[in-house]
């Protein structure tokens, strides 16, 4: 019964990865925060508000990255019917939605001092808001089915269709002229950020990634255990019925 793909291999791998990812997350986030908040110099234009960047930029990247991961594992699940891929996609969504929310929140906190308003309807901000909705729709679709195998396939189709939003977000700053600042970190010419800000930022980005991996492992494990409980309960009920019928 391959559909309930034997998860032991995944569990073993997860157990091996978990201590590292947890350690990297704790170290990088700790060091990055301290460095970024206390030791990095204030920006000559933005002053101390620039420190919001250390949360804002990593969460923005993770919001998109997690979605990309979700779309890839959905494709894998659809093509190869790989059960763990479904679970990875499912478990990623709430994490990604949270990153998106944090990005929106820190963005508007930053927007108030920088642009004088909490919110503007520029292309990047809007497409980020849309991404939050796609995450929510994806999660709602999972909830809407009782049958988990069906839910998995429906959600996978949605994740793939929704993936067209990713390039829209990424290139929104280039396609439309917006208030939001264009890419300065990942560009053709290399980073355009001063080194004193770059290093703590990179630390934070790695930390966010490791944090995602850690939480993901926990969530997928929980899903696997939940499914096991369900199967055991059903088997028990079937046995009980069979015994009753035999009497």
């Amino acid at each position: 019964m391959h559909r309930f793909a034997n998860p032991t291999r995944f569990l073993r791998l997860a157990a091996a990865v978990l201590p590292f990812s947890a350690a990297v997350a704790a170290l990088c986030l700790g060091a990055g925060l301290v460095w970024g908040l206390f030791f990095a110099p204030p920006d000559y234009q933005q002053g101390d508000t620039v420190r919001i960047m250390f949360i804002h930029v990593p969460s923005a990247m993770m919001a998109m990255g997690v979605y990309a991961g979700m779309a890839i594992s959905s494709a894998i699940a659809l093509i190869w019917r790989h059960a763990i891929a479904d679970l990875i996609a499912k478990a990623s969504a709430p994490i990604g939605a949270t990153f998106t929310f944090i990005c929106l929140l820190t963005g508007s906190l930053w927007g108030k001092p920088m642009w004088g308003t909490w919110w503007v309807w520029d292309a990047r901000l809007t497409s980020m808001l849309i991404m939050l909705f796609i995450y929510l729709g994806y999660m709602a679709l999972w909830q809407a089915f009782d049958d988990q195998t069906k839910a998995a396939r429906a959600a996978a189709i949605l994740a793939l269709v929704g993936a067209i939003n990713l390039p829209v977000i990424k290139f929104s700053v280039e396609w439309w002229n917006t208030l939001h600042q264009p890419a300065s970190l990942i560009t053709m010419e290399g980073p355009k950020i001063h080194e004193s800000l770059l290093w703590p930022l990179l630390l934070m980005i790695v930390g966010f990634g490791a944090y995602y991996l850690t939480v993901l492992i926990f969530r997928v494990r929980a899903e696997i255990h939940q499914r096991r409980t369900r199967m055991l309960r059903m088997a028990q009920a079937d046995r009980h019925n069979a015994m009753q019928a035999a009497d």
Partner: protein
């Protein structure tokens, strides 16, 4: 009687919850519709401020409209409307209970979300009170009038759109008063007259709507 009444409200809340985060979806639709406007109309803040009240109210109205559809339809389709009609209490009370549940799962959450949307639409800070107060009085009226429309169109072909056509014109007075209250408040005027009007409308509809809706439902069951 009152136990049955409370039980009916609980029933509908339970169903809304079980059938998958009822209010959450209403809220999401509300936010989505509001955010369509800046996309369509353009992001200029002074422009947004001018259309803020109207857009938020129109979006709230549409969100309520969209959720009306299933108020009685689902119960008709699976036969539970028969059972509700055969409860030993007047059908109008059943309708009132369902309407209250509808408001609790749509109107109320929309009202609570509205200030956030005000922020997105650059609503002037003085106007938030009027927005929330107006919606608190106005959304129950939307649910009540909606109940009449939903009952009239239940079981009818293309009921959904027909419902919209019947109900929207009746919603217009509420829209106008709701919006003008917000605009008055933004300009520093008093809004007590608006609120008085909405309260009067609410007391009127809370009496008439359940009775009218109950009549219409009887037709659908006949």
């Amino acid at each position: 009687m009152s136990r049955t009444f409370l039980m009916l409200i609980r029933r509908d809340l339970l169903l809304a919850h079980r059938q998958g985060g009822g209010s959450l979806l209403a809220i999401a639709f509300f936010v989505l519709v509001v955010s369509l406007f800046p996309l369509g109309v353009g992001p200029a803040p002074e422009m947004l401020e001018r259309i803020a009240a109207g857009t938020i109210w129109v979006a709230a109205l549409l969100s309520v409209l969209l959720s009306l559809d299933r108020m009685f339809q689902a119960d008709l389709e699976d036969g539970s409307l028969d059972q509700l009609a055969l409860l030993p209490i007047p059908l109008a009370l059943v309708v009132l209970a369902k309407t209250i549940a509808h408001w609790l799962t749509t109107g109320l959450p929309l009202t609570l979300t509205a200030p956030l949307l005000g922020l997105l639409m650059q609503l002037s800070p003085d106007a938030y009170g009027a927005l929330v107060a107006g919606m608190l009085l106005g959304t129950p009226i939307l649910s009540l009038i909606g109940a009449i429309g939903a009952a009239l169109t239940v079981g009818v072909r293309r009921g959904g759109v027909l419902l919209t056509l019947i109900v929207t014109p009746l919603y217009i007075p509420i829209l106008i008063f709701g919006v003008s209250a917000v605009e008055a408040a933004a300009q520093g005027f008093a809004i007590s007259a608006h609120m008085l009007f909405l309260s009067a409308l609410l007391s009127g509809t809370i009496v008439i709507a359940p009775i009218a809706a109950a009549w219409s439902l009887k037709l659908a069951l006949d």
